[in-house]
């Protein structure tokens, strides 16, 4: 041993490899960190630069559309898309209000109504003839479908009246499950028979003609709808996407996938659909030409809504619908400027106010504007009128319902659950619908904090302080709901609290939507909360919710049936708007308010937040095709986005610093380990021996 055991200069190969290994570890980790920083360094935008620079609208919907089949789709989110792809005979004027104006869209001219005798087969085999009506609709003759592989050569073909008739036939097909089919079923001649034939037949024969919807033998752009009774509401239905022309080729080509492959002739077509991710609408080159309206309501010009008057529609080349389920995510995205507007039907976005219910200053600074629009809807509590305790038209139970009605404080409800963004409902009809009476005050919706009257009524009903004298126990009200999530539970809790002030015990029976529907169907419900949105701005579309024959499975979920009300309804249904109709509606109101099967609570106010780079924003309670009128100031948006999305690397640096500083003692430990003397007395301060 020349040099002693200490030095080991020849230990090269092995060590070199060990060193190389160590170096590789270091290099890899540095690379990972750098990659992370590089990844973070680039923009946090979820869009491509092209999209960001183009005239593109960035919007959001909360879930994948269940279906984009215009004959089936019925939800608000879906309508935002469907209505842009499937234009209808009529459309609502974008700017005009009070009243809403229907203008021709695909229609070439106003339909012609003629009196038409209709033969009706009675059940006993006899026939009778009634006075019916025939509407003749004529389409524009230059309409074409979008280009799509379902057509020969992939070129969109010409649209004729046949395509609209096809849509009617689809509505009558029970397997399509068209939600508005019941509106037609008892009115269009031959509809029930046609529908039945479909149900029976194995193969569906769409070539067969329906008696009540006929093609004009001479004009390929004209078809006739024959009704067995007057139905003035038909024109509104011609503004809903159910009656939009559909290509039979597309339905048959895509089959089960048709709900995800819409083929229409609207301003946009569906160019890309990534489930759970995004849905992109692109300008349809085959769209029928339309321009931005040049007349609006007073004040529209000042609001800049006429700046684009006369310009070709649509004003943006693309609409990107981000499908965002979590409200947290979409809110974050919105605040970063990556969404033009905050979602339409999302409660959470309404929480952006200062104390005085105005937009918070932070958002205002960011250029967000707030819009509130009373929606054409009504939310109500309904008793099951077949319920032995709460239902029926007996005086006793009527008083019980009235008492409960009086206990529900609409103002508190609005404050707590709608943050003030709703108006209290007095009756079925919402503002904006003919027959709505702003001066009407429902006597059973007048809340007083002492509940004096409610308690009196309750006592009169035989339940003093909510106690059933027969049993000595409290009356129980089963509140059936679908509150499986937190927000639902909150609202159930608040409502229960209100009713329980009466002394009645409220028991929440939450169930899943399917079980809830089954309960309603079987009439096993006792007390529910429900809402209705207008299909069209006619009072019939609301008051029919209490029409006896519309009981479950119809839309009358209260199972309310008052012969007097039903008689008035039948009378009012076919009337034209005017004082006479108003009078009948007033009578219906008096009857139904007294019976108190419903407790109308609110008419919702939709609140939307829009950035100032979005132009031509004006809400419409019925039309969902507004997107084609919107315009985008792309430069403004981009500069804002850039300013708001600068990553903050300080915490990362701080973290790195902490790790470095924190590992210094560790390095010292390593040093000590390698250099320590074995003898304890000599070594001193070995960190790891303690």
């Amino acid at each position: 041993m020349q040099s002693g055991p200490a030095a080991d200069p020849s230990a090269t190969g092995f060590r070199r490899r060990a060193a190389r290994f160590r170096a590789a570890v270091v290099v890899t980790s540095v690379a990972v960190v750098l990659a992370a920083i590089a990844g973070a360094g680039c923009s946090n935008s979820p869009y491509t630069p092209q999209e960001m620079q183009g005239k593109v609208q960035f919007r959001t919907i909360g879930a994948d559309p269940k279906s984009l089949d215009p004959s089936f789709s019925y939800t608000v989110d879906e309508a935002l898309i469907v209505d842009l792809i499937y234009p209808t005979f009529y459309k609502y004027h974008y700017l005009k209000r009070d009243p809403f104006v229907l203008e021709l869209n695909l229609g070439a001219k106003e339909p012609v109504k003629t009196a038409w005798p209709v033969t009706i087969k009675e059940k006993d085999g006899k026939t009778r003839t009634v006075q019916g009506e025939r509407y003749s609709f004529t389409l524009k003759n230059d309409l074409r479908f979008q280009d799509d592989p379902c057509f020969p050569d992939g070129k969109g073909r010409h649209i004729t009246a046949k395509d609209v008739v096809y849509s009617f036939k689809r509505m009558a097909d029970p397997s399509v499950q068209c939600p508005v089919a019941p509106y037609f079923a008892d009115k269009i001649v031959g509809w029930p028979e046609y529908s039945e034939a479909f149900e029976k037949a194995k193969e569906k024969n769409y070539d067969k003609e329906m008696e009540g919807v006929q093609l004009d033998p001479k004009d390929p752009y004209t078809f006739h709808v024959i009704l067995n009774q007057p139905y003035p509401q038909l024109r509104y239905l011609m503004a809903m996407h159910f009656t939009a022309p559909q290509a039979r080729e597309a339905v048959e080509y895509y089959k089960d996938e048709y709900p995800r492959h819409p083929v229409g002739c609207g301003p946009y077509y569906l160019s890309d659909y990534q489930p759970k991710q995004r849905l992109v609408l692109t300008v349809n080159p085959n769209r029928h030409k339309d321009v931005y309206p040049s007349i609006g309501m007073p004040g529209d010009a000042e609001a800049g809504l006429l700046a684009d008057a006369g310009k070709q529609l649509p004003l943006t080349e693309k609409i990107v619908f981000n499908i965002i389920r979590e409200s947290t995510s979409s809110w974050n995205l919105f605040t970063q400027g990556y969404l033009d507007a905050a979602g339409v039907n999302n409660n959470n976005f309404q929480q952006v106010f200062t104390a005085s219910n105005a937009l918070s200053p932070e958002l205002e600074k960011k250029g967000v504007s707030l819009r509130k629009e009373t929606e054409m809807c009504v939310y109500y509590f309904a008793f099951n009128m077949n319920d032995p305790v709460y239902g029926g038209l007996s005086e006793k139970n009527k008083k019980l319902r009235q008492a409960i009605s009086l206990s529900i404080n609409a103002d508190e409800y609005i404050q707590l659950l709608k943050q003030g963004n709703a108006s209290p409902a007095e009756w079925v009809l919402p503002p904006g619908v003919f027959g709505y009476d702003p001066s009407f005050q429902n006597p059973y919706r007048r809340f007083d904090p002492q509940l004096t009257r409610a308690k009196k009524l309750l006592a009169e009903a035989g339940y003093p302080d909510g106690v059933d004298p027969k049993t000595g126990e409290k009356l129980t009200l089963y509140y059936d709901n679908t509150a499986t999530n937190a927000a639902g539970r909150q609202s159930v809790g608040i409502v229960s609290r209100m009713i329980e002030r009466l002394g009645i015990k409220v028991v929440s029976r939450p169930s899943l939507p399917d079980q809830f529907q089954a309960k309603l169907l079987k009439g096993q419900h006792q007390f529910i909360f429900y809402g209705w949105y207008a299909d069209y701005p006619d009072p019939e579309n609301f008051v029919f919710l209490l029409y006896g024959p519309n009981k479950r499975p119809g839309p009358n979920s209260a199972n309310y049936a008052n012969p007097e009300y039903d008689r008035l309804f039948e009378q009012m249904r076919a009337m034209d708007d005017g004082p006479a109709r108003e009078e009948v509606i007033r009578k219906m109101r008096a009857v139904s308010v007294e019976d108190c099967a419903w407790i109308p609570v609110i008419h919702n106010v939709a609140v939307s937040l829009t950035y100032d780079w979005v132009k031509n924003v004006k809400a419409h309670p019925l039309a969902s095709d507004a997107a084609q009128y919107r315009n985008i100031d792309v430069d403004l948006r981009q500069s804002r986005q850039r300013a708001w999305n600068k990553p903050n690397f300080v915490p990362l640096v701080v973290l790195a610093a902490i790790i470095v500083v924190g590992s210094l003692p560790a390095v010292a430990v390593v040093r000590q380990r390698v250099n320590r003397r074995v003898r304890r007395a000599d070594a001193g301060g070995e960190g790891d021996d303690s």
Binding site: T328, N347, S356, L416, A486, Q490, G493, L512
Partner: protein
């Protein structure tokens, strides 16, 4: 089923769990081997702290499980409610959200003064309930789910594990196959499927969690049994003529208990965490039972508000975190105390 859905039953479970815990501690004190572990545990400050915390939560669960129906309002008033009523602000229901120690409601368009201004330590939730009280009440659900599940899964796992390990042969093959099948379905998917099929509710969740969680313990029991089966003391007992049952219950089972107890301790915390995730997926205990899972679930909306309603999420998360942390620390400490070989 209705009995199992009844309040009585649901309250029985946490009571049983707490009673079992107390019994186990009492018994353990009498067994020298456990007493030895005890001594080691006592020296571990973290473990004692964890035990105290678990004891506190257990007390809360017990207080929330015991109660009477109030004649006047016909609602159940638990001991915890009574204590809350005595303290004042805890039991006061406000009209809406309010921030911790706030004097006005929060998030409302027109904030209203509170009934108990500045006294809600953790604020109030959307219905105006005191968040602190709600958080405390959540302990019961945690014990209900965690304990209920373990009450279902532990006997099952021990029985099958012992059988598989001890008898071997076809019994082993069969049991291994059963849990092999169950274990190859990812837990969360199996849970989802089970709850969708069984329906929602605390008992269903316990059953579903029980089905998914017995596998781990069963595998552990089987492995340990296998180890002990060929130990000399078991052979000696066999040679003495002790029956299989006697060997399993008197010889093998007591020797498995340490491992089982460690695994149960750690398993409990896992179950509590799973409940909150199920609640988040909308498969939780349901609306009528206050749980941390429900509170966290509510936060997904509350966090999107401006101002952010953070106290609900924070309280529930912290309450959950502390309990789980305590169980994890206790589990680690138990492992060290019971099985010193495993100490590093």
């Amino acid at each position: 089923m209705s009995f199992f859905q009844s309040d009585f039953f649901l309250n029985l479970v946490p009571c049983c769990v707490v009673a079992l815990l107390l019994f186990a501690i009492w018994r353990a004190g009498k067994q020298p081997l456990w007493a030895e572990a005890y001594r080691r545990l006592r020296r571990n400050k973290v473990a004692i702290f964890a035990l105290v915390i678990i004891g506190l939560y257990g007390t809360l669960a017990l207080l929330e499980s015991l109660g009477t129906t109030d004649k006047a309002s016909q609602t159940r008033i638990t001991l915890l409610d009574r204590i809350a009523q005595k303290t004042g602000a805890l039991a006061v229901q406000e009209r809406y959200y309010s921030a911790p120690l706030a004097t006005m409601t929060t998030g409302e368009a027109n904030p209203q003064p509170l009934k108990a201004p500045g006294q809600h330590l953790l604020g109030t939730d959307g219905v105006g309930n005191d968040v602190l009280l709600q958080t405390l009440k959540g302990a019961r659900t945690a014990f209900l789910i965690g304990g209920g599940t373990l009450l279902i899964s532990t006997p099952l796992a021990l029985l099958f594990g012992l059988m598989a390990g001890y008898y071997g042969k076809w019994q082993d093959d069969l049991i291994q196959y059963i849990y092999g099948v169950l274990a190859s379905i990812p837990t969360i998917l199996l849970l989802i499927a089970l709850i969708l099929v069984l329906g929602r509710g605390p008992v269903q969740i316990c059953v579903a969690l029980g089905i998914t969680s017995w596998v781990g313990l069963c595998r552990l029991t089987r492995g340990e049994t296998l180890k002990h089966r060929d130990r000399e003391y078991v052979r000696g007992a066999k040679a003495l003529g002790v029956s299989d049952f006697g060997i399993l219950t008197r010889h093998i089972l007591p020797n498995l208990l340490p491992v089982v107890i460690i695994s149960l301790t750690l398993g409990f915390s896992g179950l509590v965490l799973q409940e909150s995730i199920l609640a988040y997926l909308g498969l939780g205990v349901g609306g009528n039972i206050g749980s941390w899972g429900n509170m966290i679930d509510a936060a997904r909306d509350e966090l999107a508000r401006e101002p952010v309603i953070w106290w609900n999420l924070t309280s529930a998360s912290v309450a959950l975190f502390i309990l789980v942390l305590a169980f994890n620390f206790l589990g680690d400490a138990l492992r060290d105390a019971i099985d010193p070989r495993l100490r590093s």
